[in-house]
């Protein structure tokens, strides 16, 4: 009889058992490589905002997970348990404490990783630890809420199919009116399209203007595209709560729909974690080879300008702008130059914030933090670092390429009374479009058609 096992709560034992199934070679590398040099410490926004509190240090947080690995899955923990600080969890209370660390003290932003000489990727095993806890039902209430929405309704914000369709149709009417073209369409489920365009449910719920802006750009470019009626949510809460099954189910729904529609290219609207999940991690989670191209809408918009498919006028976006790199775009996907190139083409006054690109600080809403109300005070305290960065640019507007960052930045801008606006590239590109000639032509064309039809009716 194993007395060690008998001392442990049912859930704690499940967590330990599950860890063995979830460890990957990459995680084991990160769990064993740390030499506790402390070089990552000051890279974390939580540490910088809480000087003197060692419990926010990346290596300290990592050790809370690492000790379990050492105790149960690493030979060093069996031979020198004290020396390597091996340890276990025994009670549900200890699991709750672990929850407050892995969800409440780290946004999985990976800034410590790019500053670690040993390549320790805390965010990867922090995500795993989140998944272990969720597996036994231990998670923040907001995480529970959002994960269940995405599992069952198919998107993170519980948007029902009828509401999605209605919102897209409403934006189609807006497009027709702005373009003076009653035949302008935002197609849904159009087979064999060049592009299948997938979005963040926040666009349906809080920001339908972004759907209209994208539609205007597609219209101006004469693009053959469609939005899908299902599998349209390119966000993926599985990246945040560590549930690979959810990750695979969500990404799989997107891929299945693109294949069903025989779309040639999947274009992912601006969202850091959505881009990372759908383009990079999704095929692994879904255990599927994707047969079509996938790209960020940032690349699509930039290519339209470069190929002369759309014309833009940067004087249409007056004022000063800075750019915030989403952690997932910049650190995990290397999407740093294209957004800047695009931004420079559509605004006159672009000023970098420092540090930037892969060294940029998290908006503090990363890793699903915006859904975890209980940690908001500590998140906003850590946001002082980002607030100082923003204020130092002296700009009026911060541009980002991520819906999640829009919410994180808006929250901290309000909290620190910075008086800045937040916007995305799609909004600036749409605003800079030179389309007056198209609209004028449409006006004439449809006025003539109306005259002809009213004449023939007489």
């Amino acid at each position: 009889m194993n007395t060690e096992k008998n001392k442990r709560s049912y859930k704690a034992q499940k967590v330990i058992d599950r860890m063995g199934q979830k460890l990957t070679r990459q995680m084991v590398g990160s769990l064993t490589a740390c030499v506790h040099c402390g070089m990552c410490t000051d890279s974390c926004h939580y540490v910088l905002a809480n000087p003197g509190d060692p419990t926010f240090a990346p290596a300290y947080k990592a050790d809370k997970i690492r000790k379990l690995f050492k105790q149960h899955y690493d030979w060093t923990g069996k031979v020198f348990p004290k020396w390597v600080k091996a340890g276990s969890v025994y009670t549900d209370e200890e699991l709750q404490e672990l929850k407050d660390i892995v969800f409440g003290k780290c946004t999985n932003c990976r800034r410590c990783t790019v500053n670690c000489p040993m390549g320790v990727d805390l965010a990867t095993f922090n995500r795993m630890a989140r998944g272990l806890l969720c597996h036994v039902g231990i998670m923040p209430e907001g995480v529970e809420y959002v994960a269940k929405e995405q599992w069952e309704i198919g998107n993170q914000m519980g948007v029902l199919k009828e509401d999605y369709i209605e919102t897209v149709e409403w934006q189609e009417e807006e497009l027709q009116s702005e373009m003076e073209d009653p035949t302008a369409k935002i197609p849904i489920d159009k087979p064999d399209s060049n592009i299948v365009y997938v979005i963040n449910p926040r666009e349906i719920k809080h920001d339908p203007r972004s759907i209209l802006d994208a539609a205007k750009i597609f219209y101006a470019a004469g693009e053959d595209y469609t939005m899908p009626s299902e599998g349209w949510d390119m966000t993926n809460f599985g990246l945040f709560n560590g549930d690979d099954e959810l990750g695979g189910a969500v990404a799989g729904r997107v891929y299945d729909k693109v294949e069903e529609l025989r779309g040639k290219k999947l274009v992912i609207s601006e969202c850091g974690h959505g881009y990372r999940s759908t383009r990079c991690e999704g095929p692994n989670w879904a255990k599927k080879d994707i047969t079509f191209d996938a790209e960020s809408s940032v690349i699509t918009m930039l290519e339209y300008i470069k190929q002369g498919k759309i014309k833009v006028d940067k004087t249409k976006n007056p004022g000063s702008y800075t750019f915030h790199d989403s952690c997932n775009n910049a650190r995990s996907c290397g999407l740093t130059e294209e957004p800047r190139e695009l931004l420079s083409l559509v605004v006159e006054d672009f000023r970098e914030m420092y540090p930037n690109r892969a060294e940029n600080y998290c908006c503090t809403g990363g890793g699903g933090a915006m859904s975890m109300a209980e940690y908001r005070p500590s998140r906003l305290k850590s946001a002082k670092i980002k607030a100082d960065q923003l204020a130092a640019t002296g700009t009026k507007t911060v541009v980002t390429s991520c819906h999640n960052c829009v919410d994180g930045l808006t929250d901290l801008i309000g909290h620190y009374k910075l008086g800045m606006d937040v916007t995305q590239l799609v909004n600036l590109v749409a605003n800079a479009l030179v389309i007056d000639d198209i609209v004028e032509e449409n006006k004439k064309k449809y006025a003539e058609k109306e005259e002809v039809s009213s004449g023939s009716a007489q």
Partner: protein
């Protein structure tokens, strides 16, 4: 996507559909023990069904695991909702409890004169029952029950996506072989 089989005087089918949007006598909602609707399908029930369902639930809980209650379905296409408090998050004796929950749903359906009923793959997804386990238990339990003869005419299992459908469909064939 649809696969349909006859079992005695009843049919058992697997389709790809939103269980809360089906036109049916009753659908099953995998409920919390406090009967709060919460998010996911609970949110769909609240939005599509209106406030009356929540009101009905106020006096019906809490439930123990495997217990079920029946309410009307407000403004939804279904007539009733069977709220089934199944096991969650790897709890002990999960498979047996899941089976009992499904049997209790079918008994409640018969007791309420419900002739057609839609199930989700029970416990799969958010509550962490692996889809293969859920598919096997959901289909085998229902097939066994119907094979004894039941007043329920049609049972459908609604897969939320292709991944779930692909797990459910072969289990339906297996279950029929066993029942034969």
């Amino acid at each position: 996507m649809m696969e349909k089989k006859q079992i005695k005087s009843s049919t058992l089918s697997v389709i790809k559909a939103d269980v809360t949007a089906t036109e049916i006598d009753a659908f099953v909602f995998y409920a919390r023990n406090d009967l709060k609707l919460g998010s996911g399908f609970g949110n769909a029930i609240a939005l599509r069904g209106g406030p009356s369902i929540r009101k009905e639930l106020e006096n019906l809980g809490p439930l123990k695991v495997t217990e079920v209650v029946v309410t009307t379905a407000g403004n939804m296409k279904a007539k009733h909702i069977i709220h089934a408090c199944g096991p969650k998050f790897q709890e002990e004796n999960l498979e047996q409890k899941l089976k009992t929950t499904i049997i209790n749903v079918l008994k409640a359906a018969e007791a309420n004169g419900i002739e057609s009923i839609a199930f989700p793959p029970m416990g799969a997804g958010f509550y962490g029952v692996p889809i293969d386990v859920s598919a096997k238990i959901t289909i085998e339990t229902i097939a066994e029950y119907l094979n004894k003869g039941s007043e329920i005419k049609d049972v459908i299992i609604c897969a939320n996506d292709t991944r779930e459908y692909k797990a459910l469909e072969p289990k339906l064939k297996d279950a029929l072989k066993k029942a034969a």
